[in-house]
Amino acid sequence: MAKKLPKVDVVIVGVGWAGGIIAAELTKQGLNCVGLERGKERKTEDYFMVHDELRYALRYELMQDLSKETITFRGNEKLRALPMRQYGSFILGDNLGGSGVHWNGQTYRFLPYDFEIRSQTIERYGKKKIPKDMTIQDWGITYDELEPYFDKFEKMAGISGEENPLGPKRSSPYPTPPMKTTPALEKFRKAATNLKLHPYNRPSGNLSEAYTNPDGVSRAACQYCAYCERFGCEYGAKADPVVTVIPVAKKTGKFEIRTHSNVRRVLKSGNKATGVMYIDTTTGEEIEQPADIVVLTSYVFNNVRLLLQSGIGRPYDPNTGTGVIGKNYAYQVQKGSATGFFEKEEFNTYAGAGALGMVLDDYNGDNFDHTKLDFIHGGSIAISQTGLRPISNNKVPKGTPTWGKEFKANSVKYANRMLSVGGQGASMPFKHHYLDLDPTYKDEFGDPLVRITFDFEEQDRQLAKYLNERCIEIMKEMGADLIDPFEELGPYDITTYQSTHNTGGIIMGAEPDTSAVNNYMQMWDAENVFAVGATAFPHNSGYNPTGTVGALAYRAAEGIMSYREKGGILA
């Protein structure tokens, strides 16, 4: 028999970026919020010994313990899905702050094209441009409508950057100037400029200078220590929920965080949620937390899983294309890159920061003509200086053996003489790419795991090839002596790290028939449930997702406040 607690205004499931932002905004306006976090508490002091590649990058110190819960995966519906037993293609954050702690800080705004992708593609190229099973749709919101929320997120996080010459209209400049550049980045800038492209400093969540945000939170500047991705920041210089929004929510006295609280069900009565049921993982006790409003802000897979397990919303059916929960799972196309080796130059690539880089959008979105191309959208192209740590970075020119004398000699020789230019390709949704519940494999509580059905398509193969060709042009102009040749994208392989940009499953839109939430992330089928995060993306863009997740979270917070006042489905 579950212990039943007194009702609260809002219960927030998962306290990362989205949960933290919503908690801060709602508590500032007087609502009582409880944040349920399955992991433990985290603070900056935890990162005293963080410069440890083995522990954090390769043994996944900050990531979800897969022995308790993972996902299953198959390339298509004819195959048996099998569990992701070890980490590979993506890594799942855990504990307070979630993936917002181990991210790199690369902070973009999705393009105006992204939000109206279907209408704009048809308008410019005709309906035939969209392949039969590609399920792109407009997001039910425009860039201009979302702009104030991007602005809010960037000011809260103190994003360091400069205007993107090809970027959309901004209401204000970045709150802090761009980060320092490096000789490698300058080489990219010069080469790109020679090629008549439009490079700019990558917008960064690693602060270029000390900054106090509108909430009064002060943070120190980044020291370029080169331990961001998969690590927490020992300076608090990298924007993360633990050093920004969570303390703001706590200061109100209206936010209670319960760690070690793993939510298993959203409880409902009729078409409304009544609260959640969770397990106190330290005691195993089942606890019911009633609430007027339920906000789902866990990672993509758990947001979807919770709804499917709780019987909220219409599950997606890939055969008919009807239903919405689990629909439009998308990812990222990362292999359109170029690696160059330099015989006469060495670079300080041991130093860096997660978001330190130079980027260009000439081949992103619909910034270039696709008339003669066999794909839509594109990707950002960038040189990144995140810090090349020695276990994970032993690139040798193609043809070098992978072990033995020659391998060692070349891996040592090129350790500081290798640069890469990477394309981050957008990922379009397809009818047969989706999330549902696995029929066989269970988590530690006996609940089914989420099952991913996904593979790369011709669209992705063409896009990877195109981005690779563009990256090679830039790398040549940068003067590399040796450039690795292109490798086909191949099938989606869950064993090699690509990107932790999993998206979709509870997508937003203008119509209840084709989307799960409206543009306030409010569920069409359960008006007091808000599902916030990259789950809301109908497709994934050629950018890192966090900036857009942050904007959607601010938008959702506003929606929750008006729902609290007026009730009903928000228009």
Partner: protein, 250 residues
């Protein structure tokens, strides 16, 4: 070189002090200062005296937690073939890689403790990743036994008694799946050994490999530095490495 390193160290201390001074202003407002406070005492402390005392301390970590002596010697020899000593610097053996692997196998990694090891087990597509029921320590037991068997079959000698070329030959058969095994994948075992070799060569010396930070020195990797603000926008520069041990106050 040594002078360079000393100079470098001085510069770094300056940077650190300057940083701490500058960032003092940033710790106001809400409490997000974090690890910073606890960092203040750390370096500057290593006096010549400390260094001298340390030289006489026996390293009691050089003992085995998992391997038998024979397994240990095989791993020493095999990893040395994967990452041999050369003009650049020491190979796997002198870096302590076999100790690293031994110690790793005795903990979480060896038991696949944080991985999903629940049944049912089915053979899957390559892109679905490892689907076996064996844990790493079991794979090592089997893999090393088979390495020995293959050496005896092919060259009628123990693996450790083979000459370098023969050892490379045997390892190549594993790497290219030219050995018939029923329980484990030969290349799967080989790749695990290769990955563990690089981990042992380049992880913090805390884990018993990368002895004396020689793995890092070989490729001019500075290890764990607190800040690169002074070099980030500069041309390439060699910085004497630091390990996590340097971060602990005494």
């Amino acid at each position: 070189m040594a002078d360079n390193a000393n100079q470098q160290e001085k510069n770094e201390s300056l940077t650190r002090r300057r940083f701490l001074k500058n960032s003092g202003i940033a710790i106001g407002g809400l409490a997000v200062g974090g690890a910073l406070g606890s960092l203040i005492p750390f370096k500057d402390k290593t006096t010549n005296e400390d260094v001298k005392t340390e030289q006489h301390v026996e390293n009691y970590n050089l003992a085995l937690m998992f391997f038998t002596q024979q397994q240990f010697r095989m791993v020493e020899a095999a990893t040395e073939r994967i990452f041999p000593a050369d003009d650049n610097g020491p190979g796997a053996k002198d870096l302590g890689v076999a100790y690293f692997i031994d110690h790793q196998l005795s903990g979480d990694w060896g038991f696949n403790a944080r991985e999903y090891m629940h049944p049912p087990f089915f053979k899957g597509e390559k892109v679905q990743g490892y689907q076996g029921r064996l844990r790493r320590r079991e794979i090592f037991d089997i893999g090393l036994r088979e390495l020995q068997n293959h050496s005896l079959t092919k060259f009628e000698k123990n693996f450790i008694d083979l000459d370098e070329e023969q050892q490379i030959d045997v390892l190549t058969d594993f790497a290219e799946d030219k050995v018939q095994l029923t329980t484990i994948s030969p290349s799967g075992f080989f790749n695990m050994l290769r990955t563990a070799t690089l981990e042992g060569a380049y992880s913090d010396p805390l884990y018993s490999g990368n002895r004396n930070m020689d793995g890092w020195k070989m490729r001019n990797y500075p290890g764990s530095q607190m800040a690169y603000t002074d070099v980030i926008d500069q041309e390439f520069k060699v910085i004497a490495p630091k390990s996590l041990k340097d971060h602990l106050g005494h």
